[in-house]
């Protein structure tokens, strides 16, 4: 770890910061990195860090989780997904509970594993429940193409993928949280580049810095934000992010997916913020292959994940935090997911309480 720079960055922040600064990160990896390093303990009192809608599992709506469960319950379906989704509460159950009851749910570490599984078990309908942002979407796109190239017809994708910039617009439009600037996601931006964030500065006068994931990367981004005299989008994570992004990955996504409406926990339906399989790949879409019917969704009782994801409520201020809701016995997705902000704050709290 490059912790040698930390003291200098901290004193720089102390020197340059003002009161009442609120910076939001919108990436689960940042959420975890900040809490794990205990960065809040080092910051000057005037700077507050809040988490936004950056945890892919957490922003998945209960209705979408119910659709995943409904698919998994079909006898011919083998549902594959990333581990984090398995424990998240849908309306009346979790995939983990369904699996224990005999439903065929399998955790994979890459969508390509799901394609391999489909090839190995041709009598099963292997569905991959795809969640995540521009980081995972290209990998899923590649898996769809690979399945097609190999003629694996029993593989399909329920795409719950979302794209990053639009929820930031939605947040700013709501205006509930005063946001002085964004710590923008490093991994997502490796793919997207910077252009998609320019509206933050030009339309909303809110700056942003794309940050890496080491503690000093985050502090450096904060220093850059504090120093901005005019709102701008800057790259702090120069070793990985280029202004134009990863053109190959962008093209892959644009080929396989098309923008669609997506339902965000806490923000509701945001038009064009999702990725559905494009027209020529519709036969790989699970929702084309199977009719998915769900009952009226039921939200986890007393859970304030929606407010937490909008940065309106600090996780520690949720009435259930640490009492009824802990990582061992979670109530809402923000405590279940390893990238959720409630989980991060609980897992990495100080011995004497939350920081």
């Amino acid at each position: 770890m490059t912790s040698a720079r930390i003291p200098a960055l901290i004193s720089e922040l102390r020197r340059e910061s003002r009161d009442g600064l609120v910076y939001m990160e919108v990436c689960g990896t940042h959420t975890m990195a900040i809490s794990r390093a205990g960065l809040r303990q080092l910051l000057p009192a005037g700077i507050k860090l809040v988490s936004g809608p950056g945890c892919p599992v957490c922003v998945t709506s209960t209705a979408d989780l119910d659709r995943v469960v409904a698919l998994a319950r079909r006898p011919e379906v083998t549902l594959t997904t990333f581990g984090d989704l398995v424990r998240v509460p849908a309306s009346r159950t979790t995939l983990a509970a369904e699996r224990a009851a005999g439903v065929d749910v399998r955790v994979v570490y890459s969508p390509l594993d799901a394609v391999n599984l489909a090839q190995a078990e041709p009598e099963r309908e292997v569905v991959f429940a795809g969640i995540g942002f521009e980081t995972t979407a290209p990998v899923v796109a590649a898996a769809v193409l690979e399945a097609r190239a190999r003629g694996v017809a029993n593989f399909s994708v329920l795409s719950l993928h979302k794209t990053m910039p639009l929820p930031l617009r939605a947040l700013l439009d709501l205006g509930e949280t005063p946001i002085s600037g964004f710590i923008l996601p490093g991994h997502v931006s490796v793919v997207t580049g910077t252009a998609c964030y320019e509206f933050l500065a030009s339309e909303y006068a809110v700056g942003g810095v794309i940050a890496g994931f080491e503690p000093d990367d985050v502090l450096e981004a904060l220093v850059m934000l504090v120093r901005q005299t005019a709102p701008a989008i800057e790259i702090g994570y120069r070793r990985a992010v280029r202004a134009e992004g990863n053109v190959v990955a962008q093209r892959l996504m644009a080929t396989v997916f098309a923008p669609s409406d997506a339902d965000w926990r806490g923000l509701g339906v945001i038009p064009g913020s999702g990725l559905a399989l494009a027209n020529q790949y519709r036969e790989s879409a699970a929702e084309e292959r199977f009719t998915i019917e769900i009952e009226e969704p039921v939200e986890p009782k007393g859970c304030a994940c929606g407010e937490v994801l909008r940065g309106v409520l600090d996780p520690a201020d949720c009435a259930l935090f640490g009492s009824r809701c802990t990582p061992a016995d979670p109530v809402g997705p923000c405590m279940v997911s390893s990238e959720g902000s409630c989980a991060a704050r609980h897992r990495y709290r100080d011995v004497d309480g939350v920081v």
Binding site: A37, G38, Y109, S110, P215, A328, R347, Y348, D350, V351
Partner: protein, 353 residues
């Protein structure tokens, strides 16, 4: 491929095939006077307090960089005995084998068990084998039971731990879990990390000797070996890792534990896999490490003794017991910030030990 290359259901039947298997594989590998008698129970002579432990091993795959299920099965039980300061006296091994398992693989596993037992200075004196139908077990499961003779006369354990005691770790953490993870190949990564799996009685013995009170006054008082009461607690951080050992210790001792992230050895390779996959090194399983809690005045001597042992070269004092925040473990990060270490929940790695 002939039937003779594989384990058959008949090998578990108790008939001739079974006898041949016992003689040609197990007795051949573990040869010792007690086992050679092939009695249903082994008789042992002991004096003093004994420790008894048992552990089942189900690691998948059974072979991984730096070890295999045989090494694990023997080392795991020897190490459990070592946590009670017990010199291993004898081991028993029970095998559940899936029909169709390769005979050569079973031989390799037994050879590894024999080698590890010899290294630990203990014999495998009795055993049992069951063969189950294909699909009823995954390859091979081994349960080892160990008896040991406790070499200290004070009570070891969380209840003996005091405010201000030193916490010592015998070496780098996370290697075993990452070696097995790489061998499972689910994440498709390759690494140079090897499992640390090893029998630790020798290492524990070195720590016990270093903890003995050798002040001239005490030595002059009587001829009995000096007390090792400065050694309070030993535990091998296997499943759940260092975090679990310390969290359980804090809870049962009703004291706090304060550790320094900077002092905890983690290899660069393990750290980079953890960064990539989002694992916490402190919560990863080890099979060749020991945590010691020692009275502060003996801490340096114990660290020096551990470092002089080949399995403890990277031993370090990683923290201390404190009366503050009883029941909780605090980690002082490399940045100087502080956070709690909770027992890990949920996604622990499957079947790594």
């Amino acid at each position: 491929m002939t039937a003779a290359d594989r384990i058959l259901l008949g090998h578990g039947s108790g008939g001739k095939l079974y006898r041949d298997l016992v003689r040609d594989v197990f007795v051949a590998a573990f040869a010792n006077p007690v086992l050679d008698r092939l009695d249903d129970a082994a008789s042992l002579a002991t004096s003093g307090r004994i420790a008894l432990t048992t552990d089942s091993h189900v690691v998948q795959p059974w072979r991984f960089a730096g070890g295999d299920i045989g090494l694990l099965a023997v080392a795991g039980t020897v190490n459990d005995l070592a946590t009670a300061a017990a010199r291993p006296l004898a081991l028993a091994a029970a095998f559940i084998i899936e029909e169709g398992f390769f005979m050569d693989d079973l031989r390799a596993i037994c050879a590894s068990m024999a080698r590890t037992a010899a290294e630990a200075g203990v014999a495998i004196v009795t055993g049992d084998t069951k063969v189950v139908e294909r699909g009823a077990a995954d390859g091979i499961f081994i349960t080892t039971t160990g008896v040991g003779e406790i070499v200290v006369d004070h009570e070891l354990g969380a209840q003996s731990v005091r405010d201000d005691d030193a916490v010592i770790l015998s070496g780098s953490i996370g290697d075993h879990a990452m070696a097995v993870l790489a061998a499972r190949d689910e994440f498709h990564f390759t690494t140079t990390v090897e499992s640390d799996c090893a029998p630790l009685w020798g290492l524990a013995e070195a720590a016990i000797a270093a903890a003995r009170d050798t002040a001239p006054a005490a030595a002059a008082r009587d001829t009995a070996p000096a007390s090792a009461a400065a050694l309070r607690f030993l535990r091998d951080p296997t499943r759940g890792g260092l975090t679990t050992v310390l969290a359980e210790l804090a809870e049962s001792a009703a004291l706090g534990v304060e550790i320094e992230e900077r002092a905890i050895p983690v290899s660069a390779a393990v750290r980079s896999i953890c960064d990539l996959l989002g694992y916490e090194p402190l919560s990863l399983a080890n099979e060749g490490k020991m945590v010691f809690v020692v009275a502060p005045e003996k801490a340096d001597a114990v660290v020096a003794a551990l470092r002089a042992h080949p399995l403890g070269r990277h031993a370090a004092r990683i923290g201390a017991i404190t009366a503050a925040h009883p029941g909780r473990v605090a980690l002082r990060t490399v940045l100087g910030t502080r956070r709690v270490l909770d027992m890990p929940v949920g996604e622990l790695l499957p079947r790594i030990c």
